[in-house]
Symmetry: C2
Subunit: 285 residues, 2 copies
């Protein structure tokens, strides 16, 4: 078992130095970012809890590190943002304080490196279960963040990639960062990430945009209601020319935004009851 | 028991609207901040875990909300920063999802209101114990953040307020935000918050600044080693004129920074073994 100070020194060593707009990383009371006035900054936090979102039996320490960061990066992708830094708060049983924690950070930092974001700080505590909260900061040009509230009547509705994936086989989901940035550059304004199932998430987008949605594509039950897809849901005027792929994933049209039945989703003309994953009233395992 | 969507709507309602530089709060995949190029932004995250940092028997839901935010605000105070926003990630047992969560947020938001920071987002999950992670963002004029690494040989060492408080009697500690901002404006450059005990925290400051420290004040064992004080430790050249109080707390000189015995603390000429609170290898309860 290592002491906190030793463990932090170790994490600090592997996390690399502050660079770019992040002028101070791990080692002080707080990290420091020197912002660029031409940009907006976006912030999101995501919990990942043992026996709630993962088990030690199925997920390796590296898988858990990857997934904890991927969940938060998926939110940055949904804003069309470029990742800047993350803060990682980790609670672990004392007997995992050595090798397990190292392998956890290795998984997390491999993904961080891929998307060029820095581990800038966080917290560390002993706890009876493995729990973590990852906060990510991203940047977008001023006023260009993709919003849940920006869908307009007449927009086409799209998703990236394949919905209804089996998350048990997908222990290291890839956040759609490249797709989000590309869509934002193409002029897309409305998006969110699909983490709790299309039927529930599309309804949330409709509520925020005060519009309705009609799904016309033929989608499986898994695609309609399965959670943990980490794909992007977005809308765009039909006049906006979109390529067949964004980032390295296909763009699939699935329906239309309407001004009728606000806050509701229809599937082939029939009301679609949201059955997606509610983090509070249902369990994932 | 409430569903996640209802609970989030409720939190969103009590948290108030985004304002100032925070242009989008709760309700999208991420919060959006429009930064000011004359400022640096500082970020910190702090875990607060049931039966580790608090028990439900001793702490009311409002106390827990207060304390979760106060820990993170204490880090902003240590940077001399003005609070901007916070993200709150909360895991709670399903049977607490109604009244308990409301009272928790009421305690947290009362403190947030006092320091004019907005609850901008976070996460919510069902979990067997109460766990939370609070991320705070603050702002300082460019290059003016107080640093652990800025102490210089010859500086006097000070603390704010009274050390060695009994944290069991101090369930709603006051973060030293006003003191931190005032000290920064007076020209102080080196500070940290005292959360793990003076003997351990002063040693950390010495390591970061590559200096030594000599305590000459007569301090009790509680003042030397007790944790959870949430006071500020800072250093300044003797030539810098300081008032008797910063914010609404006294400033107390306790010793000198030296170029000798780097990374070590002496008490009346004898090495002082750091005995403060290590979050990893010892328990608080």
């Amino acid at each position: 078992m290592m002491r906190e100070t030793q463990l932090i020194q170790k994490i600090r060593k592997v996390s690399g130095a502050a660079s770019g707009s992040l002028i101070l990383g791990i080692g002080d009371d707080a990290a420091i970012l020197r912002p660029d006035a031409r940009e907006d900054l976006v912030f999101t936090s995501d919990l990942l809890l043992e026996d709630r979102h993962f088990t030690r039996e199925i997920y390796s320490p590296g898988d858990i590190g990857h997934k904890a960061l991927a969940r938060s990066l998926s939110d940055l992708a949904a804003m069309g943002a470029e990742p800047v830094f993350c803060l990682v708060s980790l609670g672990v049983p004392a007997d995992l304080a050595g090798a397990w924690v190292t392998r956890f950070y290795r998984g997390l930092l491999a993904l961080a490196k891929k998307y060029k974001l820095t581990l800038a700080g966080g917290d560390l505590a002993r706890f009876e279960k493995i729990i973590m909260d990852v906060t990510c900061c991203g940047r977008v040009p001023r006023g260009k963040a993709l919003l849940r509230s920006a869908a307009k009547s007449g927009d086409s509705i799209y998703v990236t990639g394949k919905l209804g994936k089996d998350w048990r086989r997908n222990r290291r989901p890839e956040p759609r960062i490249a797709a989000g940035i590309q869509l934002r550059r193409l002029g897309v304004r409305a998006a969110m990430d699909l983490s709790d199932g299309l039927s529930l998430d599309l309804q949330r987008l409709c509520v925020e945009s005060q519009v309705g949605a009609e799904i016309t594509a033929n989608l499986s039950q898994e695609a309609l209601h399965g959670g943990e897809d980490y794909e992007l849901l977005f809308t765009a005027p039909p006049a906006l020319k979109l390529p067949a792929r964004a980032g390295d994933v296909p763009i699939v049209p699935i329906g239309k935004i309407t001004s009728r039945h606000k806050g509701r989703v229809l599937l082939h003309g029939q009301p679609l009851k949201p059955k997606g994953y509610d983090h509070f009233s249902t369990g994932v395992l």
